[in-house]
């Protein structure tokens, strides 16, 4: 049932990915407007794209070659984290190296820029909820994990109980794997911990980037919001990209039981049954959003003033 829902979620995930791709945000400025900010935007975007490409390359290598190095999938499971880390590292480098030109007369706004002030509520809330579900799933997986047939701790789910068969108590039990116990949860937890540090570093880099000229304040604030949005999207992709397979695996294992399930197991089963497909769809949308970072486009020609005869076509009224 779990895998069925996940397969059914695939077309929805493709649609979510396509919708995210077409929702590209672009702001157009005049050819001579906000030159400093346009330069900063170009630099931060270029580094973010470089980070994304390197992240996708690293993630792809982990998916393809990770299986050869570790056939049990521990490296493969880190592919979403590699993509997220690439974007975050690119963002950090871009924000740290983008500096507005300083002239003889310099101005600064008397304001306190904080990370908290830059965080959008909805996207942050979504990330926190997703991270909490992932942490909970990994914690449950680690708590309920057992050694597999080769003695690798936390790699299978073992159950045993007594059932009445033809009026006789019969001891029965089974061991199923792979199970996202400590065998997988420890490397995943470590990778997500590193990612959390990168998220914090990237947010601080965005908040601390110096302001350009005062006339570009509005655009600069928008650029920071875009950067923060990208950081949260990269983190959300990593969390959901990891949660999807983990939750599906838990739901699959708990759906195929020989013993009666406890209340906790029923709750975990239903939560993961819902969380797995949702994470798949959300992860696809997040990946689409990462591929089309917002951009500032510079208009080639100066804009005609209202009432001024336009060089081509009808005058603008």
């Amino acid at each position: 049932m779990g895998i069925g829902i996940s397969v059914l979620a695939l077309p929805v995930a493709v649609v979510a990915f396509a919708v995210a791709l077409v929702r590209r945000r672009t702001v157009t400025v005049g050819v001579n407007e906000h030159p400093d900010l346009v330069r900063i935007a170009g630099r931060t975007r270029a580094w973010r794209v470089v980070g994304l490409l390197l992240g996708i390359l690293a993630g792809g290598l982990l998916l393809v070659l990770g299986q050869r190095v570790d056939a049990l999938g521990r490296l493969t499971a880190l592919a979403p984290a590699a993509v997220g880390a690439g974007v975050l590292l690119g963002t950090i480098v871009g924000e740290l190296t983008a500096r507005p030109a300083v002239g003889v007369r310099r101005a600064a706004v008397v304001e306190t820029r904080t990370v908290r002030g830059l965080l959008p509520r909805t996207a942050t809330g979504l990330l926190v909820v997703a991270a909490a579900v992932l942490a909970g799933t990994l914690a449950v997986g680690a708590a309920w994990g057992a050694p597999d047939d080769l003695g690798r701790a936390g790699r299978s789910f073992t159950e045993s109980c007594q059932r009445v068969v033809d009026g006789v108590y019969v001891s029965t039990g089974a061991s199923q794997g792979p199970w996202p116990g400590s065998f997988y949860a420890v490397p995943l937890g470590a990778a997500l911990g590193v990612l959390a540090v990168l998220v914090l570093a990237a947010l601080l880099a965005v908040a601390r980037r110096p302001r350009p000229a005062l006339e570009s304040l509005g655009l600069d604030s928008m650029l920071r919001r875009w950067s923060v949005g990208n950081i949260l999207t990269a983190a959300t992709f990593t969390v959901l990209g990891t949660l999807g397979p983990v939750a599906t695996l838990v739901a699959l294992t708990l759906s195929d039981r020989q013993c009666p399930a406890t209340t906790a197991e029923v709750v975990v089963r239903w939560v993961t049954l819902v969380a797995g497909p949702l994470a798949l769809v959300g992860g696809a949308a997040a990946l689409g959003a990462l591929l089309v970072t917002p951009t500032i486009r510079v208009d080639d020609l100066p804009r005609p003033l209202p009432g001024e005869a336009a060089p081509v076509g009808a005058p603008v009224r």
Binding site: V104, R105, R106, A107, A108, V110, R208
Partner: protein, 124 residues
């Protein structure tokens, strides 16, 4: 909320820390920055102005010694509960005008020409 700005002219003979101190003292003394308002972190203001962090730190230290602000470790720098209300906006403007005329004199420009320059710039 109107954002207040401070400016630093690196060609001005007045040291940058003093230019900054005057402007922030004016903003606090005239009530534009209210008691409890937080000033930008030293590193942030220094980065925005392209100055060394030590320059801004010196400004804050002098403002603190004069009773305009209070600094707390981990809590940033905030406007003091009862800062000296030395400057009204009019007084601050007159001080700025006097400083401008002083600088014009250093450059060998007479006062009437300096005033005409202000009119021309304001009209531009």
């Amino acid at each position: 909320m109107t954002l207040q700005a401070v400016t630093v002219d690196v060609l001005d003979p007045t040291p940058p820390y003093e230019q900054l101190r005057r402007q922030l003292a004016d903003l606090v003394g005239s009530g534009v920055l209210a008691p409890g308002d937080r000033l930008p972190p030293v590193r942030q203001l220094a980065a925005d102005l392209g100055l060394a962090a030590g320059t801004v730190a010196r400004t804050y230290r002098e403002l603190e010694q004069a009773g305009y602000v209070r600094s707390r470790r981990g809590g940033g720098t905030r406007v003091a509960p009862a800062p000296p209300a030395t400057a009204t906006p009019q007084q601050a403007l007159e001080d700025a005008a006097a400083a401008y005329l002083e600088r014009a004199a250093v450059l060998g420009i007479p006062a009437d020409e300096a005033v005409a320059t202000v009119r021309r710039v304001a009209g531009a």
